[in-house]
Symmetry: C2
Subunit: 264 residues, 2 copies
């Protein structure tokens, strides 16, 4: 790749993060480019986590993983340094959040493996391009997310329940949203459920486990997609001695185009 | 085409209809081949009806139309004679059903134009191939159909409300059914609605306007597709001085493969 910062908005955004100029959420930064969830694990957990992603592709669509100790992700973009290019990180010791730095070079280890996982921003862009409403964007808040009763497929120590995100839609719009998001299997793909929340173990649609509640209007049904918070929730449950994730909403901006994630 | 009756099940079925050996419904006859709804109209109505189909492709997916007076449909199959190859017809005078013959050669006219319209048998085969339940097939009855409050786009004298067919499905199966049937735009394509029947003007889901009621089980939602009864209902409302349709369930079996109707 021969991107230069001046001409490439994704690279520009990463350099801004690297230089401490971009430290906030990445929604609406570098529109059109794929953003990714991050989990950095010690190599002794990497093989099991990779297998967990392989067994659970809807919540854990793995875009790329790094070589142990390497901060580069050549498949995702030019000159990526995963230690600096995410606007804000979370550092975890034995399952406890210990820091939210904007740079993790000083705590980097030679045994760390980075996992980059697709994010719903990509399919939400496609929904908006299709004239479909995305309520949490309209309301300027986070997407509501819920722990469900749907089990994930376990791998080694990694196991737990599926987390879903919810977007309310009229039935005809939900049908179109199913078509649109089916084209994006590498960013969660089609919904996993719509309608009655209790059928997937959600007790109160107005009290999400993560994010914010949104209005569900007359004639709308809640539509549920597998969510990239699932791997974070599963990693947190394992309480690894050390791990790094992105801070919620502070994603890695890649050089991949959202439009190129569509399979058809 | 070089089909012979001995080797081609669709041609065999048409010859059986022509010879008076096949006079019953065509469900499960020549599996894998596209079956079509039939409307035969005087040529003075043909241009408007063609425009009606063009404006309403979901209920009226036109597979082929004939030259005026010609019984051939070379785009749909070898040696078709539309006057004999449908197992049973309905003959209408000024909107009144006057006969249900198995052959219409004796009432054929030089000004008649045949319209062949896609039918849900094609996408139901794809649903079954995907392991999805089709309740009316399980129950051995006709699909339930309903007049809705959804208007069609008018053309000349042709206008009226959309008729839909209904298949009950669990939400996860409905999502898969939306994916599967989206691949078949020439046989009604994706559903037009799911969930609350009242939203599309259906007062009682247990009292269909055509066909038979089917069981909707716990955890299932009704899913509604545009239905090929719509053009019949619209034609009937116009009360043309003369027209011929197929008898319900007694379709033209074409040489087209259902699998070839999938766009992707």
């Amino acid at each position: 790749m021969t991107n230069t910062a001046d001409t490439h908005p994704a690279y520009r955004a990463r350099l801004d993060a690297r230089d401490g100029l971009l430290t906030g959420p990445t929604a609406n930064i570098a529109p059109g480019y794929v953003q990714a969830n991050l989990a950095i694990l010690p190599s002794n957990l990497a093989a099991d986590f990779l297998r967990f992603c392989q067994r659970n592709p809807k919540p854990c669509p793995l875009l790329a993983m790094s070589e142990p100790g390497s901060p580069a992700l050549p498949d995702l973009g030019h000159d990526i340094d995963i230690r600096t290019d995410v606007p804000r990180y979370r550092v975890w010791h034995n399952g406890q959040l210990v820091d939210e730095p904007i740079d993790v070079r000083n705590i980097w280890r030679d045994d760390l493996v980075s996992f980059l996982i697709g994010c719903s921003f990509s399919f939400e862009e496609a929904m908006l391009d299709n004239g479909l409403p995305v309520r949490h964007i309209e309301q300027g808040c986070n997407v509501p997310m819920y722990r469900t009763s749907i089990p994930t497929q376990p791998a080694g120590p990694f196991h737990g329940q599926l987390v879903v995100s919810m977007r309310p839609l009229k039935a005809a719009d939900a049908i179109r949203a199913i078509q649109v998001t089916s084209r994006f299997p590498s960013v969660h793909g089609a919904p996993v459920h719509f309608g009655d929340p209790a059928e997937i173990g959600i007790a109160d649609i107005n009290r999400p486990d993560y994010g914010d509640a949104v209005e569900i209007r007359q004639g709308e049904v809640p539509v549920f997609w597998a969510c990239g918070v699932t791997p974070q929730s599963v990693v947190a449950a394992v309480q690894p001695e050390f791990c790094i994730t992105h801070a919620p909403g502070h994603m890695l901006i890649t050089d991949l185009l959202n439009s190129r994630m569509a399979v058809l």
